[in-house]
Symmetry: C2
Subunit: 427 residues, 2 copies
């Protein structure tokens, strides 16, 4: 069972990152804390307690109101003391199991989803995004924390700043309060509690301490924003590598909807370019295909996924493909038989998408998720567009005709195979 | 709350319908009882008790086993007595609320769904399918049964053979058992209990007593088998009137899958006919459009609805339309600009369906159900095909070109309006 409450520690006074509390810094147009709360909420956590200091209380209050969050503020009047005290302060605000999470860490959705299934300290043996030099390390013995600290010589994993605890932790904070006059770090609680350790390796999370961490966080969000169940060969090996770099560059500046429109416009321009220069048209078409991933990536990185965005994007893609093939045929073909081929290529090209979307409409499940064999069938959009570009690079009448013939066969065959795989799946 | 158990009275000895028990007669390839049980099950009733006589017990046992039904048999050793005794026999088999239903009535899905929300006697003030002369009538006073019988002079409604009762009914059967030595009709129980009456007017149900009732039941199932949320003007006013007649004629002979193939074959033939005779092609295309409703109607009438059937049917429709437009263009057009128009007409024609199916994929709801305004937009398949036929009846080069231009504009405009309506709906 996922805990229902999360405690966020955000009482630390900003130092290397300026006057604004770190939890309210934005990455990919969203406050760090908004990200954490949103991802926790999507995964079943509904109540939030934010521990902050007197100086930041107003800003955090504004933040909570502004986003309409179900969050409570707890003030730590002595933020200069160790952050263990901040945890102790929520003693009477939580019961049962709860999540404890650092307010200045940026997490990816996959990390949060998996972490909520763990218990104790969530630790990463292969941290991919965070700076290990600065990180808090843990040595683990028999599945429990043996030692924890920034300067351990020998260590097994890195502290991800997320914990799944229960109220028994307050027996330890109680003792530490007495012994150390309220000044002790969280790591001391963790060590004394000998918390169990759940390893979660290589998933997206990063501790933000410096402006360059913030940049790395943006990069992490862009690079892990690929959904891609329907990605073809070209998309996986070429388009996504470029599109995620573009998403990284645009993450703070461009909204997903703006990107959808830009991509559509480029696609339509590429279609009209067939009237002028086939190689240029092909290249721009391929560029628009690369950019076609960016709106979705920006949406996920900026936590702005919307079904309507996906809906419109999907319609516009079909129109770009249709317009490209129609204008390419218009500008190159003369004989009725080749036009017939072009008509069938256009039909098949839309039907490839129709056959998978209609599956989802009927069965409520993603076709590529339900029928993994579908992923291996050639003829997806990224592959078709890349092939189209190749055929248009050294255009001759014969190569354009060969392209239409290839597309007409490939796409319609793919639809036949899709319906066969669907029939196998459901029977 | 829908009752969880249903009691089916099927102890009557067949008279006018031959040796086979009436509940096991087939209408549209399904036993009457299979229909009732299936519809009840689809609407939340999970347990069944069938009261029958010694002679039929073996047949009913076979029926239950054959269909793997969750049903129990209760034997009435004295079926020649009034059917009130049959109800009394289940006294110790049910508790709380339960459905009581006659084994020889054929019900439509809509009737069962609504009836389960009622209580007491479900009565019909405007019976549409059953023979009122033969029916049991009820006079209602203050919402309760005042008098019930076949030969009432004044009556308010007709007994539909379905009741929502609770175990208190057995106090009355107990009394009647003593007073009348176990020989009393159900109507006597109903009258003495002064059951509440729920009116359900004009929905599909029929009491099957004679072979002509059976034919009427088939007709009822065919005529009420139209789902039709996406039906256009031509479908509602022309195609469905004919297709339901055809479904009535084929209900016992043809399966939905066979019908899908026949319709697809006719559509493809009509497409190739464009090479020979445009008027004939157009007429056959329209005939295939009428037949296109029949597979779905047969599926509903025969209780054989399948998502895969709908999936394949939808793909094949797109291919018939695509093939028709492609071959029509091939056989009539010469200039590139008109081919461009044809390419856009074909694109738009598939996109009309794509835009609504993609909506369902994204939102999990039928587009026409969620956005009623969509139903009024012209350009649905039935309307496009009818228009195509009209343009091909007196074919001249100009009329075919006008058709392509019209389709190119109408379909793509419709897709624009659809996405606009979707954006309005979800924002």
């Amino acid at each position: 069972m996922v805990p229902k409450t999360a405690v966020i520690l955000a009482a630390g006074l900003g130092t290397r990152m300026g006057e604004r509390p770190k939890g309210l810094l934005k990455v990919a147009r969203r406050e760090i804390l908004y990200r954490t709360l949103t991802l926790l909420r999507r995964n079943g956590v509904g109540m939030f307690i934010i521990v902050t200091n007197e100086r930041y209380a107003g800003l955090y209050h504004e933040f909570i109101e502004g986003h309409g969050l179900n969050a409570e503020l707890v003030i730590n009047p002595e933020p200069e003391k160790g952050n263990g005290h901040s945890l102790h302060l929520v003693k009477n605000h939580v019961s049962g199991r709860f999540v404890l999470v650092m307010g200045d860490h940026v997490y990816g959705e996959e990390f949060i989803r998996e972490a909520l299934r763990g218990s104790g300290l969530i630790a990463d043996r292969k941290p991919r995004w965070t700076d290990v030099g600065e990180a808090t390390k843990v040595r683990v013995k028999n599945g429990r924390v043996e030692e924890i600290g920034k300067s351990l010589d020998e260590w097994d994993a890195v502290d991800t700043g997320l914990f799944i605890l229960d109220e028994s932790i307050f027996e330890i904070t109680e003792a530490l309060e007495r012994e150390q006059d309220g000044d002790y770090p969280l790591s001391e609680i963790v060590e004394r509690a000998e918390l169990p350790v759940t390893f979660l390796d290589g998933l997206p999370w990063i501790d933000v301490d410096t402006p360059s961490d913030l940049k790395m966080a943006r990069r992490m969000l862009a690079k892990t924003a690929v959904k891609g169940t329907g990605d073809g060969f070209i998309s996986r090996h070429l388009n996504r590598r470029i599109s995620t770099e573009i998403s990284y560059l645009l993450a703070e500046k461009v909204t997903p909807n703006q990107m959808t429109l830009i991509t559509f416009a480029l696609g339509v321009i590429s279609a009209f370019l067939t009237l002028v220069s086939l190689p240029l048209a092909g290249i721009l078409y391929q560029i628009s295909s690369i950019l076609d991933g960016v709106d979705g990536e920006l949406a996920r990185a900026q936590l702005r996924e919307s079904r309507f965005g996906g809906y419109i994007d999907s319609l516009l893609d079909r129109y770009v493909d249709g317009a490209f093939l129609a204008l390419l045929a218009y500008s190159t073909l003369r004989e009725p038989l080749w036009y017939l081929t072009a008509l069938l290529a256009l039909l098949g090209s839309v039907m490839v998408s129709y056959s998978t979307e209609r599956f989802k409409a009927a069965y409520g499940e993603d076709a590529y998720g339900s029928i993994p064999a579908l992923r291996k069938l050639p003829g997806k959009r990224d592959e078709r567009i890349f092939t189209t570009m190749l055929f248009l690079l050294y255009p001759a009448g014969a190569s354009v005709r060969a392209l239409f013939l290839l597309l007409a066969i490939l796409t319609n065959l793919r639809v036949c195979l899709t319906s066969y795989l669907v029939s196998e799946k459901v029977s």
